[in-house]
Symmetry: D2
Subunit: 442 residues, 4 copies
């Protein structure tokens, strides 16, 4: 809203299914509620099927279409490539785009393997040196209540992080007659509940605590091993990416080759224990992404099914009036909220995507690294990989790979073991002293 | 309330701290709200300190006192021994009591080691052959909402059990300046959060599903390694068991030798995955014993902090009006409730103890095995042990011991592994057929 | 639990239905958890039907029985008369008992008419001068969360009371086929939802705010005008008081002569508006006694269906972390709780009755007025009466009677009217100054 | 998204503050998620201050601006006039627009007086005869959970409506130092909490039940009678309508001339009692628009602070598993939802506005009356007026005006009075029979 109009930022988006629709709404809306330093223009939509792509472009508001994503790379006028395809094409497209000097936003999970993700992270580092930006689409970071949680933890409001418990529960696969989509095929999706929704709570754990995972113990489960093939793959609009499932023969059933539920126990770099569960079989839970972070001075708790609320516990409050406070994160001083509506007039799912565009555009304009970076995406990929490897080896503790220095080897038994990981243990004298420090809470 | 008065059932209770007070209220109240086939009489209270024991007996309503639990064993007029001491004395007392032909109720966890528990379970079997009954005090089984949950699962209302997620969260140790009690000493308490509260959710998982644990992967954590010794051990009324911590006058701090938090992933005998967390450091959670059981046809969810409520999800309900139903388990047709108050007039913590006495007295009178039996208590002990052993060995999958036949070896990776455990996996054809079966839901 | 045994306090109870059972549990339990200055003894139970009375006495723990309440009055050894009959006999029994020098506890509502209640209040004043105590059984005052609410308001934590909104919702009459009990007959019960449950929220409003009602506008409704007569009146154990409904002939249906739902708007003595609803037709609400008090500096909210919780809003908290705090009123420093269980181990409905006995016995021993007094009970009766009169006169504003000075005449239109009632209106200058006062919040 | 492009529908919007921003988002978004029969074009924005209007147009996406709303009326190319100004200009603009043959959408409350509203309703009827459409912006009707509630009631799922209880609680005026805006001035806003937010729950009551109000008893309150004038009126962006408060430079305080809280009891045309409260002083309640409708066979409950949820109670469910079901109204078969996101990915406040545009455009294209009509808006206005008049006359029962036939005179005392209003009373025989009718529930 400044006097001079901002420069245009021309965007091409690849894929137009669920994620493509959400991203389109974000590109369209961001500048209407936020002052942006650049003016995003919805220039080019990419999809295989020409008719459906044109139809999608008309509805979602993209100016042009093409059937070949390589055209995006070759066109000089495209500034940003927004990748909304299934995971198996992320790496190839992102590498080409970065190489061509285009800023990249890529949906999560960043890739289908650690090797791909490593390649992408290296490319992102090189591109950054040339002023080309890249970001992974963990949009839940931009829910105001979770952004608030991050701020409160960073300010020390809950003290040192002691424990994280997170669940991501859905039930859309609990009915064994629901069809086999690409999300149930390992070669397309990489993994199942683990990578699809587990990736979100892994990323959120890192985002909220500012830490990384040191290691994990994992366990995977597939409840339904065969499912009916979609009656007509191409009609699967809500999940379709423009390419189809491919290779299915005449039979009516196909094998599920990913996990339906994933469990993990882990430790952060500080040694703090984490417990994770991702399931698409949790009847009655529609999008229950829940995370609770317990610290030495308090706790925070969130459930996406009530997404405008953060529950805050302050252990410094006298017991007589202590309790979890239901903070409706819709006040003007909550992150992003001032641009929207008055208190209590809640936001919805797609607002996280709009905030993501806002932050991405600001980072591009300022020449700064947007978050989460491909390095952060790579870390999530490594955690996913460690969970899978642990699961395949009797849940044995599996360190998460790092770059450069060898991974520490935290044992699962902090009490009696010899851990290379910084311990969260404390004795009462030091911690008590810290708790009384007036500076810590102010 | 029958015409002829029931025969007396003379009870001796050992220990009068927290558990002793709850048991006393139960013995005193059971016959006032329920018709009992025997008339429990609060005959003898045992505690080391004579003055305090007499004081406790007067307040709690016990007729006599003694300082030596062996007197209970020797007295012919005592029918029931109710053991409310710390875990390190359970085995010795219970074995002597059973040997002497006295019915035994013992607080959980049943023992401090698997070896002790095995001895107790064997003794209980022998005693049962002579008509002597024994029971472990997992009182949460008798909360009406949880009893209702058990019934609904047994009736097939949620179909085949697919997943269990359970937490037991408290925060009374989160302050590092809170003192070192016997519950923090391995030799007295056996373990920490694991055995104290984790035992409850292990037992509840078995109770609700009717299954046992096949194996686990565990992880323990001690956050605060040293704590101040109680100012005056003997004044620790709320946790005191009549014997005191002893021998620890001079020094100011002592080592915590148990876990503060315990995490575990496990599988039931059916192969269904379970995730468990027990923590006494979860700021803001006062007694949040939460359990959610997801089946193929629905789900049930419970939180003890709202103990009169069971949330029920029926997947057979059309999506338009489906959701978790908040069942206030205070209706006359809910278990135990008819004896109490009208709908909505909730019960409290101690009612579970009263119901436990009711069921115990009925079992004794009928010459039947009360539940949970020492065999069930032994199973919980073995799960606790497996969690500890796994935790000490990099969280590696650890089968839970069984009697007779060797333990199965379920791998943590059901999808790609070779599991000896009956799988919960299904393919859509068979399960779909089952789901449509009209008989299953009626 | 002092060295010398407390003196006995011999109690006679009249009626043994729902309320009689709750009172018995309270008399039996109070001394087991609280140190009492006198030792209540459950001496004499009164009921018309000899067999059932004896049966009740055996189950509830009363030593003797009689069929005539006048025997209670005549016996010198009875110290306390506890009146648990329907409202039509309260006045006669209470007057006789006070006259005879016996302390009186009477169930709510205190009487069936204002005239009776005035007589009782006068008698109570005279008796008090002779050291004889009396109290009305509004037991919800003794729920710890509500006692906490009272304390917080009295401490000024929510500032000046601005508004009260209260509901008491049940659904046990919503089914038109449920039978006609004495609670549906005006001559026995006085009124319907209004006096049965509306009386509780009227009393609680006074208790929490420390104010009285100046006037009301009321509206009553009877949804079901005829109901089946109970199959066998005498078998109606849960509602039966030992005397029977009487006068019913052969027909199958009888007229409902009380309200099913009562609505009212009122003003407190300070002018603060109050809105009240009592309904026994609110499907799905089992015992939803809800009250929210909004002040100038915060608010408190309570629902009996989650009776261990008080929600507290502190307007002094910065907006970023403000919200209702869910205080689980089970901490040792919450009212009455220290005598019971650890945090999070909730209390139930009957605990309010136990606390009532504790306070009553303390008041008797100390020679002090227990609360609520008959004067307070009279005020509730006058509010009930004003609601009924207003309802009969097109909901016109109806002042609540007072003793001595004529009732003020608050108009329903504070803004433009001339109100004799102290206004809660304020202008920003004065109230702003007050809000900033550092002493007020510390 | 049909083959041929839909015809354009050119919109002019007057005012660009809070409501203008919400409407702009709706006009911009509707066609992106829904197939519309006409293509809304955001043509012309009207505001007094040229600079700010142009700035707003640029941000909100309007093509042109003007400073005079009469230009809108005169231009032939404008099809729709969307009125987002304060209530005092609604009538004049709407009458002119309808006269000029333009479809009109007007924000609620429709007018500042019954006289204005009557004039508008007549004009709307005349316009409708010429194919010109009009609608009042009660957007909460288009929240999916509330639309679902309407459908369930219309289907008979809760039987006959017996009671409605509704609250609209906010706290943005609870701080007496918050400034005097136009919403606090009677000549601009018409009334205070009553018309601003009370209007919503009055309209929702009618919408959900399909009934109208027969009469009311009201009570108004102004807690803070003077407030500071805005530091700089023109900077009041969030509430500013482009015209400013004006004429108020020197003095520091101004009088509040509207109500801060409004209470009412009423009866619907069926006789069903309703209780209403609107308050902008309810500390801690940010946008708690709550409504519960109790019927003879069940109940529905909603709170806008958890806007994606409808709680449903079905009295036909056996007591053992009955309870309020938390329906997350985000399933594909919930109203409007299929166009958006998968289950559990909630919608926000502005989605109601988008749905309103969708329905309005469909009605215009189909030549049908959109709802709520000006007739419905007039009824709300008459209820507001009746509440004010009752409040000024000691809360005396005040019939709500109707057209043509004289208003019925429902007495507040249904039980003993002679009511001209159809009674909701029933006797058990007839209602029981109805309840058992198999057709009613299927």
């Amino acid at each position: 809203m400044t006097g001079t109009s901002p420069q245009p930022l021309k965007v091409a988006m690849i894929g137009y299914a669920f994620m493509g629709r959400a991203h389109s709404q974000a590109w369209r809306t961001a500048g209407r509620f936020f002052d942006l330093p650049l003016d995003p223009q919805m220039s080019l939509l990419v999809g295989r099927n020409p008719d459906r792509t044109q139809q999608a472009a008309a509805q979602l508001g993209w100016s042009e279409t093409t059937g070949d994503w390589r055209e995006v790379i070759e066109r000089d006028d495209i500034d940003v490539v927004d990748i909304c395809t299934p995971g198996d094409s992320h790496a190839e497209i992102a590498l080409a785009a970065l190489e061509a000097g285009k800023h990249v936003m890529v949906e999560k999970p960043m890739a289908n393997s650690v090797a791909e993700a490593e390649q992408m992270a290296r490319a992102a580092d090189h591109a950054a040196a040339r002023g080309v930006r890249s970001m992974v689409g963990f949009t839940y970071r931009r829910v105001p209540a979770l952004q608030l949680a991050r701020e409160l933890i960073a300010e020390g409001r809950i003290g040192q992080v002691r424990q994280v418990r997170a669940q991501y529960l859905q039930d859309w696969l609990a009915d064994p007659s629901s069809p086999l989509t690409w999300r149930l095929q390992r070669e397309r999706a990489g993994s199942g509940a683990l990578g699809d929704i587990g990736a979100h709570i892994i990323d959120l754990t890192c985002f909220l605590t500012g830490e990384r995972f040191a290691g994990v113990s994992g366990m995977l489960e597939t409840f339904v091993s065969e499912r009916p093939l979609p009656a007509e793959a191409s009609a699967d609009g809500s999940e379709h990416n423009g390419t189809g499932l491919g290779g299915r023969s005449g039979e009516g059933y196909g094998a599920v080759t990913v996990d339906d539920a994933a469990l993990a126990m882990g430790r952060l770099s500080s040694g703090a224990p984490v417990v994770l569960e991702a399931s698409r079989f949790a009847w009655g839970r529609k999008n229950a992404m829940r995370i609770e972070v317990t610290g030495s001075l308090g706790a925070l708790s969130f459930d996406f099914e009530d997404m405008n609320v953060l529950h805050v516990y302050d252990a410094g409050e006298p017991g007589r009036t202590a309790g979890f406070t239901r903070v409706l994160a819709t006040e003007p001083d909550h992150p992003y909220v001032q641009a929207w509506w008055p208190p209590g007039h809640g936001l919805g799912y797609e607002h996280g995507f709009t905030h993501q565009v806002v932050d991405f555009v600001h980072a591009v304009a300022a020449g700064e690294q947007p978050t989460p970076s491909f390095q952060e995406g790579l870390h999530v990929q490594r955690v996913l990989d460690a969970v899978e490897r642990s699961s395949a080896e009797r849940s044995t503790w599996t360190p998460v790979e790092t770059d450069g220095d060898p991974a520490p080897d935290p044992t699962g038994q902090a009490l009696h073991g010899d851990s290379a990981v910084p311990s969260v243990r404390e004795n009462s004298r030091t911690s008590h002293a810290r708790q009384n420090s007036p500076t810590e809470r102010s």
